[in-house]
């Protein structure tokens, strides 16, 4: 199969998923609202001292972003699995891993990118400003695609399993730990004045690694689920 038809198939998958998300805007909006609400609960619970909020801010925002991603994971493959579209995706002349990468990219556009775009506003809520705020946005921009990539493996592994929502959380959350540490670490580092470059580099490395490995692992999991 030549490159242009592969590109056509992948862009077809992305376009279809975006179109579906447009038709069901409330689904996509849900995880964003979830993020906003979780991030807003902390100031209410912890109290309004600016120093405390500033300290916990990066960690809270990153955990909230991570949970928002987790919440939307079930949407990546479940519907396609139930209605048979996933079978069709396996039986095409293109490598499944490439189509999977397309689906994960669409998932990130729908549920990851809004988180990145909203993060400066939420950061302000926690008293972050200047460079740390920029680092927060940058760390989420590098980190959320990794979350989608790793999450897709979990989402594919639990296809057809009852109570998969909780199971996927148990599978995926431990794998999210490094991303969380690097991401929140970058922001606290920049707040402490040591700069966030090291952690941002590690986030970038995780992204590259997950881009390289996750689609293949996900494709293998999908094939097993469809047997």
């Amino acid at each position: 199969m030549n490159r242009s038809s592969m590109w056509e198939a992948v862009s077809g998958v992305v376009k279809r998923d975006l179109l579906l998300a447009m038709r069901r805007r409330s689904d996509a909006a849900m995880s964003v609202f979830f993020l906003v609400i979780v991030a807003s609960l902390f100031p209410l619970g912890v109290g309004p001292e600016p120093a405390v909020l500033k300290t916990i801010g990066p960690g809270v925002l990153w955990v909230a972003a991570l949970l928002a991603c987790l919440l939307s994971l079930s949407r990546v493959f479940t519907a396609d699995y139930v209605d048979g579209a996933l079978e069709q995706m396996v039986l095409v002349p293109q490598p499944l891993a490439v189509l999977v990468a397309g689906k994960v990219f669409a998932h990130w556009l729908i549920s990851g990118l809004p988180v990145v775009l909203l993060s400066p506003l939420l950061g302000l809520q926690f008293g972050l400003d200047g460079e740390p705020l920029g680092v927060l946005v940058l760390s989420l921009l590098l980190g959320t695609p990794t979350l989608s990539m790793i999450g897709a493996i979990g989402a594919a592994l639990v296809l057809g399993v009852r109570g998969s929502g909780l199971l996927v959380a148990l599978l995926v959350l431990p794998l999210y730990v490094p991303v969380l540490i690097f991401g929140a670490g970058a922001v606290t580092g920049s707040m402490a004045g040591v700069g966030g470059e090291a952690n941002l580099s590690l986030l970038g490395a995780s992204l590259v690694l997950s881009l390289f490995l996750a689609p293949w692992a996900t494709a293998a999991a999908i094939r097993i689920a469809l047997e």
């Binding site: 199969m1 069709q88 039986l91």
Partner: protein, 206 residues
């Protein structure tokens, strides 16, 4: 030519069939019949390469389909018993995204003609698919047959929830396909009204 050599299939504890040998020549249709749970769908999934057989192999023009991989997928149109229809998309969008995914993208006009060929009139093309009846959804899926140029068709109970008129339209399409030298494997409970020399039956014992 599609050939099954010594196929065995086991689902859980049950052995569905063993040492199954069958050959489908170009220009013929294999109708797989048998009771519910006799392994018809499993056989079709083995033919499609979705399910690896426990023993034996499936050969396409003499080569194992699990070695051909994507090359084999390029020879194949598989329509399972699930429709793969998205409720939020219109029949036209569903059909066009399915064909572009399969690597046979079609124009808007081509998709409309295919939908009309199977008896879905123009106003229906732009409705969300969730308002369609079961039979209409099945027809949206089957419309792909009018756009497929692949030599091998694997169809799982294509006539389910179709009315008599649509059944005969689909049968006519199958006839054209095999007359052009195509192959088809059909899982069905109904009689397929094709000339006897083009039709081969395989009865699974269950």
């Amino acid at each position: 030519m599609l050939q099954a050599v010594g196929l065995s299939c086991r689902r859980g504890e049950r052995r569905l069939f063993s040492n199954l040998n069958v050959k489908v020549e170009p220009g013929t249709l294999l109708a797989v019949v048998g009771e519910n749970g006799s392994g018809k769908t499993s056989l079709l999934r083995i033919f499609s390469s979705l399910l690896p057989p426990e023993e034996g192999s499936v050969l396409w023009d003499g080569q194992d389909i699990h070695q051909l991989k994507e090359l084999y997928a390029g020879q194949l149109t598989y329509l399972g018993h699930l429709n793969g229809i998205k409720d939020d998309l219109t029949p036209l969008e569903n059909l066009m995204s399915a064909t572009s995914l399969a690597g046979e993208p079609c124009s808007n006009k081509g998709a409309k003609e295919a939908l009309e060929a199977i008896g879905l009139k123009r106003p229906i093309h732009h409705l969300p698919s969730k308002v369609l009846s079961q039979g209409q959804k099945r027809r949206v899926t089957l419309a792909r047959l009018w756009l497929s140029t692949r030599p091998l068709w694997l169809l799982d109970e294509p006539f389910t929830s179709l009315d008599a008129a649509s059944t005969s339209v689909v049968t006519q399409r199958l006839l054209t396909h095999v007359q052009r030298g195509g192959l088809a494997v059909l899982v069905t409970h109904q009689e397929v009204a094709l000339p006897a020399e083009r039709l081969q039956h395989l009865r699974l014992a269950g």
